[in-house]
Structure formats: C-alpha cells, structure tokens
C-alpha cells in the first residue's frame, strides 16, 4: 500500500542527488571530465565499499522503524550507534587482557548488549515514566556523545582507541569465485548480516502476527489492548529491537575499522541521523529505508573513490550534507511522511 509514494519519494531523492552531483560538477574545476570519471569509478569494488558504508546507516534506520512503528519515537539512534561502536572496541580491548582473549564475536555480542541495555533504559524512561520521547531521545544522544569520549580518555588516555583488530573477510564458497561480481560475496560478517536483516525485518513487519501487533501498537493501541495484547510489552520489544539493530550497526562499523574514534561527533559522525532520514524517505518500509541508506552511503563512497582514484578535490563536506538536504526537500515538497498515528503518545491501559 505504500508502494506508490515509495517510488515517488525515491525518484525524488535520486533527482536531488543527481542535482547535487551536477552542482558539484559546476563547483569544482573540470566538471565535465568528472562525469566520465564517475562512470569509471562505478565498479564492483565501489559497490562493495558502498555496501560496507551502508551497514551502520541501514541498521540504524531499520531499528528506528521498529521503535517508531510501535509508537515510541526513538531519535536517540545516533547515541545507540555510538554506544555500539564504543562498546565493541572497549570490549575487544578488555577481552584481550583476559584469558578468553580478543574474541571478536564475543565483543560484537557485548556491544549489542550494551546498546540494547541503553535502549532498555530509554524504553523504561518513555513507557514507565512517560517521558517526552523527543527530549529523552535527544538526551540519549547527548549522553552517549559525552560518555564515549569520556570513557575513552579513562581507558586509553585519549579520545580515540588504539587499533584493536577487525572482522576478517568471509567469502561465500562458489559465489565468491564468480567472474567480475565475485568480490560482492567476499565481505565482513556485518555486511552479510545486513543482507539477512533487510528481508527479515520486512517479513517480520508485514507477514507475522508480531508485525501486526507492532503496527497496531503505533496506529491503534486501544484496539490492540482490547484484543488482549499488552501494548507496553510490544513497545518494549520495538525499542529493544532498535537497540539490537543499532548495536549491530555501530559495532559493525567499529569492528570494520578496528578502532574507536571519539573526537568531534565521534566516528559515527551523524550516521544515526542519516539513518533517521533514510527511514523517513523510505516511509517506514525496511526495504525502502535500506535503499535510501544505500544511496547515501553510495554517495559517500563515490566521493572517497573519486578522491583516491581520480585525484579529485571533491569537497567531502558538500557531499556529506546531501542526505540532509534530500530529507529536507522530501519533508517540505513531497509531502508529509506518514507517521504512525499514536507515535509519541503514552498509552494508558484501562485496567
């Protein structure tokens, strides 16, 4: 039912991005030469790096969908990603000092637990203490933004960690050996997790009873309550899922680079906010959110590759603001994103 508006939205986003690229072409010298170099850069290696950059954005976006669909607006996604990234690196660093050793998967799980725990606190604050969700979500972001560099200095005496180790590449036997597209099937585990999470999330939301509860919890909690389902529990589940997803996204990013960077906006650097824009543009559809995330990550990758390969002095700053401009254009001109009608509201059971 969301299909028509989805296509229109995405059409518009592509339009905005092309416009942005065109503007870039005019700003920098040799714009025409650029266009041909862009096509030269679009290769399989470009695609793999774009998909890798999609991981944190798309996970944050899908997490945000789950929370908001149940009726709890979670604008703390950026904060949860920061906790995930910091948690992963700090766990791996701490584990290497124990007899267990630097087990990267254990660190990954611990990071997800950390992010989910923060999401649980956020859920308690919103559901039990009826906090204003927007303000509480903002607080989650600001606390994480302060806590991660604070803890980094405590542990490593500076805002960034040393290198702790990365996920090694996994290749799918058979497929990875294919000519030309083979490299697409050689990637780090978080990338494969993303490939599984997108259809899984879509299926969960659209084809299961739990998905119906999520929908009802955000659209018509009264009826859900009448049907004998505990709205509170469904909302807790939604927010916790956003914690799990952000944990995967943040840890996936950090364990790809093998380091936590806590200076400025931290290594997450607005990816949670871009995730938020991605699901608004994708209109609360996990597939749409993934496509929007992929587009934004693809732009980022394009700018990186152009600088490395073609030696262009593309302003990374201007490329980075394209997602934000895109969502502003969509919100203003394409029409309102259809929020779940009870999002942001507390629900009181009559019992």
């Amino acid at each position: 039912m969301n299909a028509p508006s989805l296509t229109r939205r995405q059409g518009l986003v592509i339009g905005v991005i092309l416009f942005g690229l065109l503007t870039l072409g005019l700003i920098i010298d040799g714009g025409r030469q650029l266009i041909s170099d862009v096509t030269g850069v679009l290769s399989v290696s470009y695609l793999t790096s774009a998909i890798r950059l999609t991981v944190p954005i798309a996970f944050a976006a899908m997490g945000g969908i789950f929370a908001e669909k149940t009726g709890v607006i979670n604008i703390g996604l950026e904060g949860l990603l920061i906790i995930g990234a910091f948690g992963a690196v700090a766990s791996l660093y701490a584990l290497s000092a124990t007899p267990i050793g630097a087990n990267i998967w254990l660190a990954f799980v611990l990071a997800i637990l950390a992010s989910t725990f923060v999401a649980l606190l956020f859920a308690i604050v919103c559901i039990e203490f009826k906090a204003d969700q927007i303000i509480a979500g903002l607080a989650v972001w600001l606390i994480a933004l302060g806590f991660a560099p604070f803890a980094s200095i405590i542990i490593w005496s500076r805002t960034s960690s040393p290198s702790v180790g990365t996920f090694s590449t996994v290749s799918i036997p058979g497929l990875a050996a294919l000519p030309s597209i083979g490299p697409l099937f050689e990637a780090t585990p978080p990338v494969f997790l993303l490939a599984l999470a997108v259809p899984f999330s879509w299926y969960l939301l659209n084809r299961t009873t739990f998905g119906m509860w999520i929908e009802a919890s955000g659209e018509d909690p009264k009826s859900l309550d009448t049907a004998g389902v505990d709205v509170r529990k469904v909302r807790y589940a939604g927010v916790l899922l956003s914690g799990v997803y952000c944990g995967i996204g943040g840890a996936g990013l950090a364990l790809n680079t093998g380091q936590f960077v806590g200076s400025g906006d931290t290594m997450i650097d607005g990816r949670g906010w871009i995730g938020l824009t991605a699901y608004l543009i994708g209109n609360y559809n996990p597939v749409g959110a993934f496509l929007a995330s992929f587009l934004f990550a693809g732009l980022d990758a394009l700018q990186l590759q152009l600088q490395q390969i073609a030696g262009y002095d593309v302003s990374s700053t201007l490329v980075e603001i394209i997602p934000y401009v895109a969502v502003l254009v969509v919100l203003t001109f394409v029409g309102r994103t259809r929020m779940p009608s009870a999002a942001g509201e507390h629900y009181e059971s009559d019992e």
Binding site: I135, I321, G335
Partner: protein, 400 residues
Amino acid sequence: MTDDSGSIRERGSAALDRLVDATAAERITISLASLLFAIIVGAVLVFVSGFVADCADPFIYLPGLGYGCYNPLEVYWTMLTGSFGSMTVIGQTLLQTTLLLFTGLSVAVAFRAGLFNIGTQGQMVLGALATALVVLELAAYVPDNAIGMVIVLSTGVIVGAIVGGFWGMIPGLMKAYANAHEVITTIMLNFVAIGIAFWLVQVHVGDLTTDSVQTETVPAVARFPATISGSRFSVIALIGALLVAAGIYLLYTRTVIGYDLRTSGIQETAAEYGGVNAKRNIVTSMTLSGVLGGIAGAIYVMMVQYRWQAGIPPLGFDGIAVSILAGNNPVGVIPAALLFGSLKTGSVAVDLSLGVPGELVEVLRGLIILFIAMPEFFRMIGKRFGYGNGSVATDGGEAQ
C-alpha cells in the same frame, strides 16, 4: 494523510504544554531534583571510572576492585572552586554564561510557542561566520577608537542576528506551510549549516595561509573590551544578554504579540479562530529563536574566539539543557545559564588538576535533560515517600 500530521502536532503540543504549564513550584522542584539526580549519577560514574583509570596516588582502595583514582566530592568541589575561585575563572564562568543566556533564550522562545528548536547550534554557527566576515571588512573603514568599536560591534551583532534569524526562519516556514516537523528539520539544518560554513571557510572566505579551517583574526576594534584581566569576558555583553532576557519576559507576559506567538504554536486552530495569523506567528517565533542563536554566534566571534574557527563548541545544545532546566522561562534561563557556565568552566579545572575528562559535563548535560524529561519519575518517588498529592492518581502513574 494530512489529517494525521495535524493531530500529531496537537499531541506533541500537549506534551510541551505539560512542560510549560506545570506550576512554578512544581517546575522548580523538578528542575532541582533533576539536577540533584544528575549530580548523583555523575558522581557514581566518576567514582566507577576511577577504578579503570591509572593514577599516581589513588584516593581509595576497595578489596577485590583495586584502587580508585577519583573522589567524586573532590571533583565537584574542584568544579566549584574552578568556576568561582578566582577573578579569572569568574570571568570565564560569566563569559560562558553570557553565551548560554543567548542560546538558552533561543531555545526557550521557540519552546514557549510550542516549538522545539534543536537548530540553535546551526543558527549560531552561520551567524558567527557572517559576523566574522562582515566585521573583518568593516574594521578597515572605521576609526580605531571607541566610536569605531561601537559601530563595528553593533553591526556585528545585527549581522549575526539577521543570518541566524534567516536560518531559523527556514524550519519555521517548513513547519507552518508544509507541516514538516521542526525537530527533524532543525537537526538536519544544523548539519547543513555546519557543512556550508566549513566549506565556505575552507575553500573561499577563510584564511588560506593556514591549514586549519578558520577566518582571519578580527582586529581590536571588533572585540568586546575585556572587563576582568586574564579573561576575554566583557560585562557589556552580559548586560545585553540580561536585558534581552528581561525583554523577552515582558514580551510574553505583558504584550498581545507575545500572547499570540505563544498560542499560535500551541493551539494553532484556536489562534486562527481568534483572528490570529498562526502560520505567520510560527515563522516569527522560529525567526526570533534564530535571531538569538545568531547573536550568540556574533558574541562568540567578537568576545571569545576573535575569529570563526571550525569546531565551534556545542553551545546550541547546551542551550537546550539551559532552557529545559529553566522551565523555558526567560527569567529562569538566567540562573540555569549561570549553572551551566560554571559547570563548563569548572570542568576545565577538574580536567587539569584531577585528570577527570572534561566530557563529564556533557554527560551531566544529557542526564539533566533526561531527568527533566520525565517529571513522572519524580512524582512516583514523591508518592512512594508519602508526599503524593491528588494529581498523581489522575495521571495514572502507578509505581511498578
């Protein structure tokens, strides 16, 4: 499709209403309690981190845990002496307070109209850049004396206000005419503003002789005269900020315009019935909010940094904490700004003399916002300890 958005606004406003319209005593209690809880949680955080950190002389030994480096009481005491202990640090505290007054008022003005402006940071960054560029140009044409200074400083403030106001007007227009949620648009506009400013300075208008992204330094004629030696604080800017706070208080309590601004955001339909152009008033509120953010940027350039430099501190986000702590009351913003000003200044001393990272203040800022966002938490605690009043029952808050 459009109906939903309308009702979301009403509902969001209901939540803001609760924050704005709680009785004064209740508000102050919640603010003080939030502050207390944030300080306690911060103390626990500091105490626990002390066991992770390495230090030469630990203050405590706990069997099984090892040596603790940080004494929370000492940390808070150092924060206090580090922000009020000498004339120099008092100057620094008042300098931060001045900036926080403007950003706090910026957020409060929007909040009063039922609008949540998270975009003060972006409005400040762009206002600061505009101010820096204009005063750099203008300084060459004015005499190097008091008259020249008055001309340059006032022009600088006006330019910052105009550019900040323009940047605040954008989300106002989007909210009024396209019903785009101002929380989302202002967050996005922050990133856009910071990106544009960075790019402009890096590539076009900055000081291209250095590698850092910054403009040239403004001359003495474009600097607020320092009041206390050892600090760039100028009492002129502080007095200006206090006058603005008083002016905004009067605007909202004594004038029809202020009343209309307030109702337009909170009860758009009702305001329209009353013959008020609610859409225009939403734009006005956001513009006014942006103006104050822009002035904060102007003061930052002409009193603190003496140039525009990438990585302007997050005063806009501090402003959210200041405004919320103040119950969005323009007069309440004054003590709240002083509190945050001393926290920010004191954190420098805490970092230097005790080695506790200054980021502690950012954690405290977040915690204060979080606790204030949940008044119900305190009502439940009050009820549990027997201080509950009748209103708890009607709120349905049941301790679980």
